[in-house]
C-alpha cells in the first residue's frame, strides 16, 4: 500500500480547496492532525485531535466515499463489538480529482457552447442577463426593472472559458 503523507498533499493550494469543499473546516483539521502512522478508530481520532466525534465520523465516511480513506473492521471475540480502524488513502487524490473533473467537464463544455452561440443583453439596474431572442421578445426592456437593456459583451468570458476547457481536455488526454 502506497502511503502519502497528508502534509505533502495539502501543500497544493488547489488540492486544499478541493478537499475543503468536500469535508469543510473540521475535516481539514482532521486531515492535518491525523497521526502519521497506524490505523485508528473514530473515537481515538476524536480524542487525539480534539475534534467532535460526529465531525470525525462524517469526514471519514465522506473520504471513504471518495476512496480517500479506508477501514479494517475487527470484532471483539468476547463482546462481539465491532471496531473500525481507519487509515487515510490520500494517494488516491489524483484519481479522485480526475474523476470529479471528468464529471464536470460536460457542464463546462455546455456553458462554453451557450456563451459562444448567443448574443446577450443585460439590465443595467438588476444585472439580469438575456439572450438576444429573450431580449427581443421583451422589446429590450427588463422584466424586473422596466429599464432599457444594454448589450452585454461576453467575448472575454467566453474566450477564457473556451481556453480553460481546452486545457482541461488536453490535460485529461481527451480529444474531440
Amino acid at each position: 500500500m502506497q502511503m502519502v503523507a497528508p502534509e505533502e498533499v495539502l501543500k497544493n493550494e488547489a488540492v486544499r480547496a478541493y478537499l475543503f469543499r468536500m469535508i469543510g473546516e473540521e475535516g481539514m483539521s482532521l486531515l492535518e492532525k491525523f497521526p502519521p502512522e497506524g490505523e485508528f478508530s473514530d473515537e481515538d481520532l476524536a480524542e487525539s485531535t480534539s475534534i467532535n466525534l460526529n465531525a470525525v465520523r462524517h469526514t471519514l465516511y465522506t473520504l471513504y466515499g471518495k476512496r480517500l480513506a479506508e477501514y479494517r473492521r475487527i470484532k471483539n471475540s468476547e463482546t462481539g463489538w465491532l471496531t473500525y480502524l481507519w487509515v487515510l488513502r490520500l494517494d488516491n487524490i489524483d484519481n479522485c480529482l480526475t474523476e470529479d473533473t471528468e464529471a464536470v467537464l460536460e457542464i463546462l463544455q455546455a456553458r462554453e457552447e451557450y456563451e459562444s452561440m448567443n448574443d446577450f443583453y443585460i439590465c443595467p439596474q438588476c444585472g439580469l442577463r438575456y439572450t438576444f431572442d429573450e431580449a427581443l421578445n421583451r422589446d429590450f426592456i427588463c422584466q424586473n426593472c422596466d429599464q432599457k437593456m444594454d448589450h452585454f459583451d461576453n467575448d472575454l468570458l467566453s474566450e477564457a472559458l473556451r481556453r480553460r476547457v481546452d486545457r482541461i481536455k488536453e490535460n485529461l488526454g481527451k480529444f474531440d
Partner: protein, 118 residues
C-alpha cells in the same frame, strides 16, 4: 505527434477496455511494423499501457490508454475552486451565478496573464 499517432491514441482512448495491437493496425489501415512504431511512441510518451495478451493462442498486446491525472490548478481561477466540483445545487448550466462569478475570475486571470506576457 503525427497524424497517425493522434488517430491511434484517439482509438485507444475511445475503448476503455483496450484495443488489441493486432486489431489496431487494421483499424488504422497501416502495416503491423508501422503500427509497432506508433505504439512504441505512445508507450514512450506514457500515454498507453501495453499488456501481454493471447488471442486464439497467438501472442499479441492489449493497449490501454493511461488515465492521466488532472493538474488541479486548472480547476482554480483567482484562487477560487470551480464551483461545479462537488456541487450539490440543482444544476442550471446556462445561468448558474456561481459559475458566472468563476468565469469572471477566469477572464481576469487569463487577461492578466496575457498582459504580463506582452
Amino acid at each position: 505527434m503525427t497524424e497517425i499517432e493522434d488517430e491511434a491514441i484517439r482509438l485507444i482512448q475511445s475503448t476503455p477496455e483496450g484495443i488489441l495491437q493486432s486489431e489496431l493496425w487494421k483499424l488504422l489501415n497501416i502495416d503491423s511494423r508501422k503500427c509497432s512504431r506508433v505504439v512504441k511512441k505512445l508507450i514512450d510518451t506514457d500515454m498507453v499501457d501495453r499488456l501481454e495478451y493471447k488471442s486464439d493462442g497467438i501472442k499479441t498486446y492489449l493497449l490501454k490508454a493511461k488515465k492521466r491525472a488532472i493538474d488541479p490548478g486548472l480547476l482554480m481561477a483567482s484562487g477560487e475552486l470551480l464551483p461545479c466540483i462537488c456541487c450539490e445545487e440543482e444544476c442550471s448550466i446556462q445561468d448558474c451565478p456561481y459559475l458566472m462569478d468563476w468565469m469572471y475570475q477566469l477572464a481576469i486571470d487569463e487577461f492578466s496573464e496575457e498582459n504580463s506576457e506582452n
